[in-house]
Amino acid sequence: MSRIAYILRRLLQMIPTALGVTILVFFLIHLIPGDPARAFLGPHATASLVNAFDKRWGLNQSLPVQYWLFLSRLVRGDLGTSFFYQLPVTTLIMQRIGCTLLLLLYATVFTIAITVPLALIAATKRDSLRDHIIRGIPLVGLGMPTFWVGIMLILTLGLKLQLFPVGGYGNGLLDHLWSMVLPGLTVAFAISPMTIRSLRASMLGILESDFVTTARSKGIPERRVIGIHAMRNAVIPAITVLSLNIGWLVGGSVVIEQVFALPGLGELMFEGIFNRDFAVVQGVTLVFAVLIILVYLATDIVYSFVDPRVRLT
């Protein structure tokens, strides 16, 4: 029961931060030079057309009033309407969110699959050749632009080996699942250098800790010492690093969806910025911010399950 209360409380605390985000976004958007009316209608639009446009979208009112309208609509679950698509932003978001969430999922799974074994090998076989090679990965990997990694993957696995589609989302679930492999792998390659370095460092710390020595002193097999004692304690810092990077990923999806031509939230955001489509940018930013905060919240919840010391207050 207290766990549910904890979750609810955290969700409530999330609101002020999310609000702060909306304010920032709102005023930011309105700083964009250029008139959305003209951007949409073209530079040769007549004044009366522009006026009609402004009136229709409430752009002729003062900023605070516009913000108030925005908030009051938000409370009703209405994120405004896109100039460009002439559709409610909420609809656009619902169309796109599946793709982005799928990307997040693939990225998380691939990252874990790559990070855990490598970090484990590096930590347990410290200073061996394998360890040095694995330690070299962050040095090289941190400097790799994500989009470039994507292109390289397209080049090798997509074009040369013809294993995966080089872009697009396809039709139908199977297509979707298949076309997300390369993007997911790209993200995983981008994140893994950090997570490997992190997990290796925490594993090393744990392997030298007192309770591991105690465990060894009992004469239990080393397999169990590492598999149960060390791993269980390594999960916590690993989750931290993973969640921090997932936060990055939400924004990074903007770039990745460009590289792979995926119809996700990132791509929507990108278009929104280019088209000066206020409502879209506001809406998607809000959704991004909420997603990130939810990821952090999920992390805390996982902690509370794994670590008995976490107080649910």
Partner: protein, 289 residues
């Protein structure tokens, strides 16, 4: 009579400093990193010497040529020499990446130190600002800023500064919170030294090391950001050469001239490697005893 063994509190001069454990030239990562960085800087600076071509010069008779003795790395889709673009692009991108690190370093560290030292309202304000910025996806924020401000170096500087200061603030705030409780600070305060003096003379030298080590990775992050913006069309506008744009333009020719997209990326990786090595080496060098 009893001779008590007195544990003496360190006086102002004895505070635990981050001291160099070994001389810098004995740390392999640092040496290799610096060597690589110097080589890269050399290549960039000597660009006019190393290539006869002008990176903005198009030659539509010579498009998409493979590497040859005339064109070391071939030409792109407008006939521009790739090696020249790479070298001159280095000048642009690397310079911006480096300079963009400086202001956040100064601002962020200052805010962080003040925030940690004074606590209270100052801390609350700074931390709220940090939280809001952190809740934003970095890429989106910067893309938005650059878009608002128009493409170009200045916008990139402003956008990066507005976002990057946060990391430095967190790092130095953390260091300050630890340093604040150290004996030498308590000694200084009880001696009546002014806050500015305490922070500036005594605490600052010990707490900046972490920020400086981070600065090396920050330059890499900046470079990645610049290159990404270039890819998205939001970077330094043409005709100025830019690695990101090179990769974007090369993507259309992956099947025939895959080196066009690959090479600039490799260049970024090498720069990243050099800076990471320096960062690791510095961290090693400045490790506290």
């Amino acid at each position: 009579m009893t001779q008590a063994v007195r544990a003496s509190a360190p006086t102002l001069g004895e505070e635990t400093r981050a001291i160099a454990v070994r001389p810098w030239y004995r740390i392999p990562t640092l040496v290799i990193g610096l060597g690589l960085a110097v080589a890269i800087a050399g290549l960039a600076l000597l660009a006019p010497v190393l290539t006869p071509y002008n990176p903005t010069m198009q030659n539509l008779n010579q498009i998409l040529l493979p590497p040859s003795s005339a064109h070391l790395l071939g030409t792109d889709q407008l006939g521009k020499d790739v090696w020249a673009e790479l070298l001159y692009g280095a000048r642009v991108d690397l310079q911006i990446a480096f300079i963009a690190m400086l202001l956040p370093l100064v601002l962020g560290t200052t805010f962080g130190l003040l925030s940690g030292y004074f606590g209270g309202v100052v801390d609350a304000v700074v931390m709220r600002a940090v939280e809001v910025i952190v809740a934003f996806p970095v890429y989106v924020l910067i893309i938005a800023f650059v878009f608002v401000l128009g493409p170009g170096a200045t916008s990139i500087y402003i956008a990066i500064t507005l976002v990057s200061w946060v990391s430095y603030a967190r790092i130095s705030r953390g260091e300050m919170l630890v340093a604040k409780t150290q004996e030498y600070v308590l000694a200084a305060r009880s001696a009546g030294l002014s806050n500015v003096r305490i922070i500036g003379r005594h605490i600052l030298p010990n707490t900046v090391t972490q920020s400086i080590v981070f600065a090396t990775s920050d330059v890499v992050l900046n470079l990645l950001m610049i290159v990404t913006l270039g890819y998205l069309g939001l970077g330094i506008p043409p005709p100025s050469p830019d690695w990101g744009r090179m990769i974007y333009q090369g993507q259309s020719f992956l099947t025939t001239n895959w080196q066009l997209s690959t090479i600039p990326g490799v260049a970024v990786v090498i720069v990243g490697l050099a800076l990471s090595l320096i960062g690791d080496g510095l961290a090693d060098l400045l490790r506290r005893e």
